[in-house]
Symmetry: C2
Subunit: 347 residues, 2 copies
Amino acid sequence: MAVTLKDIARDLGVSVITVSKALRDHSDISQETKARVLKRVKEMNYRPNLAARALVTGRTNLLGFVVPELLHSFFSEIVRGVSSSLQGTGYTLVTTSSEQDPKLEKQAVDQLVARRVDVLLVASTQWTVEMFRRVEEAGIPYILIDRSFTGLAAHFVGVNDEEVGALATRHLAEVGCKRIAHIGGGGLSPVVGRMEGYKRTLAKLNLPSDPELIYNVERVEELGDSTGYEATKKLLKLEPRPDGIFCYNDAIAFGAISAVLDAGLSVPEDVAVVGCGNLLYNRFLKIPLTSVDQQTMQIGHKAGQLALQLVEAGEPLPPRRILLEPKLVVRQSSDRKTSTLPRVARA
Amino acid sequence: MAVTLKDIARDLGVSVITVSKALRDHSDISQETKARVLKRVKEMNYRPNLAARALVTGRTNLLGFVVPELLHSFFSEIVRGVSSSLQGTGYTLVTTSSEQDPKLEKQAVDQLVARRVDVLLVASTQWTVEMFRRVEEAGIPYILIDRSFTGLAAHFVGVNDEEVGALATRHLAEVGCKRIAHIGGGGLSPVVGRMEGYKRTLAKLNLPSDPELIYNVERVEELGDSTGYEATKKLLKLEPRPDGIFCYNDAIAFGAISAVLDAGLSVPEDVAVVGCGNLLYNRFLKIPLTSVDQQTMQIGHKAGQLALQLVEAGEPLPPRRILLEPKLVVRQSSDRKTSTLPRVARA
DNA sequence: GAATCAAACGTAAACGCTTACGAAGCAAGA
DNA sequence: TCTTGCTTCGTAAGCGTTTACGTTTGATTC
């Protein structure tokens, strides 16, 4: 069916090897035959059989990327960034969603390992490190995206999550919030990091760091709008009531805002809300949402470049940790104009 | 590095063939040896080399899917639906975004054709049919998703777009709109179909079908919120002003609503707005958006199943056309409670 | 004019797997 | 005893490519 090297070789009266070499311009081949080959290749619309090549070279030219979900623009944008790095390189990106399910994630990783992808990118929902040990055994280099693990010396691309938490918390303080709550939870590194940044900042500013101001979810998949709604309903019952909420992500913040409004209170006057991720349509929301931008495109782009380096290197490289600086994007949900502290840039 | 059939065969004192057959349980192999093989395979954590298998069988167990973009939840949900069909089948889905660019789309398709994917799914941004001829030449079955082409007898999964247009337009009429505008344009089949449904419905209801009520964009990539904003600004200048806008998609509707509000008018009282696609967070918007749901998950799911049928069949099947019924989801942006016609179900 | 060398091309083998066919063993029917 | 047939396994070949190493040719050197 498809044109093979053999077809071209026969057609030109040379050996298969000559054609093969000409295509990857080996120094072995004369300019003249090289030209003849390339011409015929174009005419016959030859496409190398990548499976055959993979078999002999041991490289598939496939990159695997397992993300927790694709419905929000957050990971979609990271995927987009990775793709942009791969554009024109001949590498194909295989993206799989784990649907926030650690078991599905393992299956997806298994699939990609079985496919012998050259590099694996994972934004993991995993509790333990065991899965990655298996990837290591398979000899496949991998890069953690957005979420890292203590005790796992691996490549990582993401943001400084303590800084994320600090930015958000400090901003809420700046607009006059005195009791700042936080909705997060679960063991993921960004959750932990942001919580740290939140606590540290509260301490630094001498604001109350009351445990009951922190709402912790059990599992990752609960980090969505309905959780944000329920959590906020509970937080609003506290005495005294929190006047600012820092949410682990934007979806939670959507729910939080709804809950505040449903309680007959106003955003940002009674309660200011800040999310993380800076999703695509935050500015069209009921109350446009202030959010910590994590430079998703950049994360993806850098990760893609690192992935290419790892394949080119051909041998394990010492773990790199690429951290991007988060940026606060102020919108109505926190824009109280009652600044008590020096302000940060807005957008 | 990795365990091969040969390793297992040597280990068990049988031939490679026997192991191979046992794994795909051929009738050729006795229950006993089959059991021995499977046991050892598990112990040694053997994973077949899919590249090698692809080379000899000519099937890669890869499905390709080219989408226009992944940032909105629309295509992400379709991807999710496809994945759900593939779950546990051993097929891997390769999703690529064309970023609404016909050239990039061609490149992406070329890549996937070169990879010899077993089936190709495409939600195309193409003007012409030429690209698909090349896919046909390569002998790769393909399925059009969401967008079809007249004169291209191909498998298709999507909604009845005339019905989409009719649903939206009829609804706007039902809530009392007398001058209904439409924002769409470009040559894509859904655009054309919805416009048809819109016009037909206006005619049926004896409402004015004024050409100046229709805003046509030139190119696909313009079908976004900024276009919606600009288009609506112009539409609002008409005399008499339109009191309802049916938008080709939700992103356009976001912009439309913003423009109406910025003009000092109210939604839905002065201008009711309806979008299409029913994106994930429509209900959290400034004005929760009424939208025609296109059953994205279902589209993906059906497409995945059809794709599997096509591979299993191994030969070209007569083109199937799977049409899902669109459903109107009424929210605040059109909820005027001033019904003049019998109402449709709401959500 | 024999030895040396670089340039240009080819041979052999392998990557890991499957498909088609053949062979060995044993039981049953003639 | 010989054929027939079934079960169970193995042999041979090939999928399309690359890598390592040969071979040929003509030019260069002394």
